[in-house]
Amino acid sequence: MNTLLLEVEGLTKEYENYSLGPIDFKVEAGMIVGLVGANGSGKSTFFRVLMRVIQEDKGRIEFFGKDLHTNETEIKQNIGYVGELLDVYEYLTIEELASLIYYWYPSWNKDRFEYLAKRYEINKKEKYGKCSKGTKKKVEFIFSLCPDSWLLLLDEPTAGVDIVSQRKIKEDLMKYMDDGDKAIVLATHNTEELNQLCDSIYVLRHGKISDTLNKDDIYENWSRVWVSRIPETIKNHISIINTSLTPPQIVTNNIQSVEEFLKKEEITINHTQRLSLEEVLEYLIE
C-alpha cells in the first residue's frame, strides 16, 4: 500500500509579485488527499504545473514513478483533471467538447460518459457557454471520470454545484476509490468534503505547504483545554495555537505536551475537547 502515484519535490514557480513553492507533495495509492488554502494561495497554479499548462522553474515531478517531462503524454492518459479550462470553447456543445477530448484517451469509456451524463442530468446538445457554473463543473467532472485513470486531480469540483449533485460526486469519488490502488487530490473549500472524503490534508499558504495533516492526528493531538488560569509563560510554549480568557482556554496541537506543562505549573484542567477539522483549518489558513 505504499505505492506513490505522485511525488513532487522542491517545486518552485516565481512570478513578479507571487511565488509558488518550494513544494514537496506526495500521494499514495488508496488515499484521498485534500488541498486547502485561502483564495490565491496557489492551489490552481499547483495543479496547472502538474498538468504542464504552467511550467515550473525548478523541481521534480513524478507520476506513477515516472518523470513528467519525459513521459508526459503517457502520464496524462492516466490522469483525470478538473481545472476550469473549458470556458474558451464555450461555443461548442457538450457533445462536441466530448468529441474533442475522448480521442486522446485510449481508455475513454463511452458508456460511462452516457451513464454519467444521464446521472447528472446533462443536456449534451447544450452549448457549454450557456451552462450554469454548476453544470460546467459537472461536465468537467464527468470528463475527468471517463478515462480509466489512476489519479484524479480535482480543482474544486463541487464549487457552485447543487446539493444533490454534490452527493452524487461524493459517491462517485468513493466508488472510484473502491479498488484501493487509485488516488485523488482534491482542492476544496468545502469542509464536509474534507471530513467525509480526505485521509490527509495539505494546507497551502502564500504558495507554500504550511501544514500537512493526517486527519486522525488532528483528533488525537489537537484540543481545546479549559483551565483554571493562563500563565504568562505559556506564550512561549510551541504547541499553543491560541489562548483566550473568557473563560480561560487554550487551543493546542499537541495535547500531551501541554498537559505535562500545565501539570508542572500546577494549573487545573477543567475540561478538554477535541477540535473539529473546520476549527483546525481556520487556525491554519487564517
Binding site: Q196, C198, K215, D216
Partner: protein, 132 residues
C-alpha cells in the same frame, strides 16, 4: 449498512480503538450477527470523518482477533465467534464501561459509598423499566 458507531468528542482514546471496541460490542451483543456485511473502509471513514488508515487498522485488528473476515472483491463480513470468546468479550466490554463510570465519579468527587448507592439505584431502575 450504517453502523451505530460514534466517535467521542471528549475521549482521548485513539479512534481506531474506539471503532474496534464499539464494533466488538455490536458483534458480541448479537446486533451484528455472523455474515453481516460491514461497510468498506472508505465508507466507514467517510461516515466517521476519519481516514482510511484508521478504519483499515481497526478492521485489521478485528480480523486478527477473529471477529470479522475480509474476502477480496466481496467485502468484509462478521464472523461466527466461539461461545467462550463471546462470553469473555462481554465481560471485558462491561468491565471497561464500569471502569469509565468509576473514573468519572472520582473526577466529580464521589466516594465509594456514593458510587455504590448510585450503582444499585441505576440497576434497580433499569430492571424496573425492562420489566425484569
Amino acid at each position: 449498512m450504517k453502523l451505530p458507531i460514534h466517535i467521542s468528542e471528549e475521549s482521548r482514546e485513539p479512534i481506531y480503538h474506539q471503532i474496534e471496541t464499539q464494533l466488538k460490542t455490536l458483534i458480541v451483543a448479537g446486533q451484528l450477527p455472523p455474515g453481516t456485511p460491514l461497510p468498506s473502509i472508505r465508507t466507514l471513514a467517510s461516515e466517521l470523518a476519519c481516514s482510511v488508515i484508521t478504519t483499515r487498522r481497526a478492521y485489521q485488528n478485528l480480523e486478527a482477533s477473529g471477529y470479522i473476515k475480509t474476502f477480496q472483491g466481496k467485502g468484509t463480513f462478521v464472523k461466527e465467534i466461539e461461545e467462550n470468546a463471546r462470553e469473555e468479550t462481554k465481560q471485558k466490554v462491561v468491565y471497561n464501561a464500569f471502569e469509565k463510570a468509576v473514573e468519572q465519579g472520582r473526577q466529580v468527587g464521589c466516594t465509594n459509598e456514593d458510587m455504590n448507592r448510585i450503582f444499585v439505584e441505576v440497576l434497580m431502575r433499569n430492571s424496573d423499566n425492562n420489566g425484569g
